[in-house]
Assembly symmetry: C2
Homo-oligomer: 336 residues x 2
C-alpha cells in the first residue's frame, strides 16, 4: 500500500494539485462533476491528507493540549472524558501531559507548546506552581488557554470551576446541622484556588454558626506519607473534633484507614464529609457523605469554551468565568 498524496491524485485524474485540494474541501470554485471524480478516487485509494503539511500551511493545528496534575483520580479522569468527547465532536485532537504536581514539568511542557504544536491549552495547575510567568508566556505566544478547577487568578483567561466557596460552606453547614460542635478541616496545598475557597467557605460557616475557628482545626497535609500521622495526632489530641471536612478526594480515604485503629467510630464519634467523585463512595462502611463535582460537565464546558475562543476571528476575546454547581450527597458518614 504505497502512500498516496494530493499530487498522486492529481496525476491520476489529469488535473492540477490545487484543483484536487479544493475539490476535497468542497470549494465552490470546482464543478460538482470534478468534485465527485476526486472524492471517488480519494475514497478508492484510501487517501488520507497529511495533517502536518496542512497545519503548517494554515497555521492551525486542530490540536489542543491538556495539562493536568494526574489522571488516576476520578475528578481528572472524568474531566478528561468530557474534554475528549467534546474534542471528538469538533474534530480536534488531544495531546495530554501529566505534571504530577511538579512546577518544573509544567513549565517545561508549556514551553514546548509555544512552538505551535497546539492551538490551545486546557489546564489545571500543579500543586507546586506558585509563579505563573510560564503561563503568561504561552498566552503571549498566541496560544489560547482555558483553566479548569485549579485556576490562576493572576492570569486573564477563561476559567471553568465549581462553586468551591459555597460547597465548602454547605459541607460545613451540613456537619453543623448534624450536631457537630467542633469541626476540623483536612486539606492540602492551600495556595490553590480550589482549596483556598473551600476553606473560606468552611470558615464562614463556622463563624456564622458560632463554632470555633482556629488554626489548630485546619490541617494542611502536603506530604503524603505524613498525612496519616498528622491526622492521628489531631484526632487523638485534646479538644478532639467531632466533625471532619476533607477538601480533596485524595484525603477522603485516610479517615477510613486510620479511624478503626484509633477506636474512633464514624459517624458516632466523628462525622465525616469529603469532596469526592469516587463511584465507591456509597459502598464504603459507612457510606461516605460527599460533595460531588460535575466532572464530565466540567470537562465538556471547558472544552467548549476553548473551542469558542479558537473559532473567534476577532482578536478581542471576552474572557468568561463559568461556575458549575457541585452536589451534596448525603450518606451515612454524617448520620446523627
Amino acid at each position: 500500500m504505497d502512500k498516496i498524496d494530493i499530487k498522486g491524485l492529481a496525476r491520476e485524474l489529469n488535473i492540477s494539485a490545487s484543483t484536487v485540494s479544493r475539490a476535497l474541501r468542497d470549494s465552490h470554485e470546482i464543478s460538482q462533476a470534478t468534485i465527485k471524480r476526486v472524492k471517488d478516487l480519494a475514497e478508492k485509494l484510501n487517501y488520507q491528507p497529511h495533517p502536518y503539511a496542512s497545519s503548517l500551511r494554515q497555521s492551525k493545528t486542530k490540536t489542543i493540549g491538556i495539562i493536568v496534575p494526574e489522571v488516576a483520580n476520578s475528578l481528572f479522569a472524568n474531566v478528561f472524558n468530557g474534554i475528549e468527547s467534546e474534542a471528538q465532536n469538533n474534530n480536534y485532537h488531544a495531546l495530554i501531559y501529566l505534571t504530577h504536581e511538579s512546577y518544573e514539568k509544567e513549565a517545561s511542557v508549556l514551553k514546548h507548546l509555544q512552538g505551535g504544536r497546539v492551538d490551545g491549552v486546557i489546564m489545571s495547575v500543579a500543586a507546586e506552581t506558585k509563579d505563573f510567568k510560564h503561563i503568561q508566556n504561552l498566552i503571549d505566544a498566541d496560544i489560547q488557554v482555558v483553566f479548569f478547577d485549579r485556576v490562576c487568578e493572576e492570569i486573564s483567561a477563561s476559567k471553568v470551576t465549581i462553586n468551591d466557596f459555597e460547597s465548602g460552606y454547605k459541607a460545613t453547614e451540613h456537619l453543623i446541622k448534624q450536631g457537630c460542635k467542633r469541626i476540623a478541616h483536612l486539606t492540602s496545598s492551600l495556595h490553590l484556588s480550589t482549596t483556598k475557597k473551600r476553606k473560606e467557605g468552611y470558615i464562614k460557616a463556622c463563624a456564622d454558626y458560632n463554632l470555633p475557628v482556629s488554626d489548630a482545626l485546619v490541617l494542611e497535609c502536603n506530604e503524603d506519607d505524613k498525612t496519616e500521622q498528622q491526622l492521628t495526632a489531631l484526632l487523638t489530641g485534646k479538644n478532639k473534633p467531632d466533625g471532619l471536612f476533607a477538601a480533596t478526594e485524595k484525603l477522603s480515604l485516610i479517615p477510613y484507614a486510620i479511624c478503626p485503629q484509633l477506636g474512633i467510630q464514624i459517624p458516632r464519634d466523628l462525622k465525616f464529609i469529603s469532596f469526592s467523585n469516587m463511584q465507591v463512595a456509597g459502598l464504603l462502611t459507612p457510606s461516605l457523605t460527599a460533595i460531588k463535582q460535575p466532572a464530565f460537565e466540567l470537562g465538556k464546558q471547558t472544552a467548549k469554551e476553548l473551542f469558542r475562543q479558537l473559532e473567534k476571528k476577532k482578536k478581542i476575546i471576552p474572557v468568561s468565568n463559568i461556575v458549575l454547581p457541585a452536589e451534596l450527597i448525603i450518606r451515612d458518614s454524617t448520620k446523627k
Copy 2:
C-alpha cells in the same frame, strides 16, 4: 513577542539558515564558536522550533497515539501513567483517544491516524471490536502498533499483557483452598483476549480440583444495566455458588451492592475474588481479595516496546510478546 524562526536567527547572526539548523542540532560540521553563538541567541530570543515543519521534513512526528476504551478506570488510568512517563523520558508526545468500547469509533480513529499524525500507536481493543481490518490497515500504512492488555491474536504486532490464564487459575484455586465447592465466574465480553484466558484458567482450575464446571456457572454480562439482575438470579437460584470470581474491575463492585440486600454475607455465605486495581479495595467491607495488575509497569513496558520498534532502522522488526505477572492480594472477602 513576535515569533522568531530559523531565518530570523540566521539574519540576526549573518549566517545561513542551514547553518543555524545544523548548529541547533549540534552538527559536527559546524564550529563550536558558531554553535555557541546560535544557541545563545536562540535561548535569548526564546526560540522554539516549529514541530510540524520539522515533522514534515523528516517524516517523523515524535508523537504516539494511545487508544483505549476508557480512562475512568484504575487499570487504564495507571497504564496511561506508565506510558506518559516513558513518553516524556523519550521526548515523545501522546495523543489520546477514547473508544468507549465502540468499534465505529476505534475504526474511525485508526483511519485518521493513517495520515501520518503519529509514528506509532498503543492500543487496547474495544469490547465491540471483533473484526481487525482497520488495525491491519494501519500497520500496512507503516504505523507501528503495540497492543496491551486486550490484544489481538490475529495481528502480528508486539503485545504486552499480564498472565491472564495463570491469574484466572490462581484466583480460582485460592477460592478452592478457602473451601469453595461451587464457584461461579462473573465476566463480560468473552471474545476479548483477557476475559477469554481468565475464564480458561478458571475452567482448568475447577477441572483440576474436580469441581463442577457448567455454563450455568459462567455469567457473561454485557449490558451494564442488566448485570445486577443477572447476578441476583444466579445468587438466589437453586444450586447457589459458594464462591465467585469476577474477571474485571467493572464487575467487582456489583456483589458489594447487591449482596447486603439479598441477605448474602461475604465471605461467610459467598467468598468473592475479583480482578481489580482500585486503591479502595482494602477499605471495602469486607476488604476485597483481588488480582492486581501491574498497571503502571504494563504501560511503561508497552511504551518501551513501541519506542524500541520506532528506533529500529531495520525493516525486519522482531515482534515480541511480553507477559507481566499479576499479584494475588488476599484480604477478607475470601476468608474462611
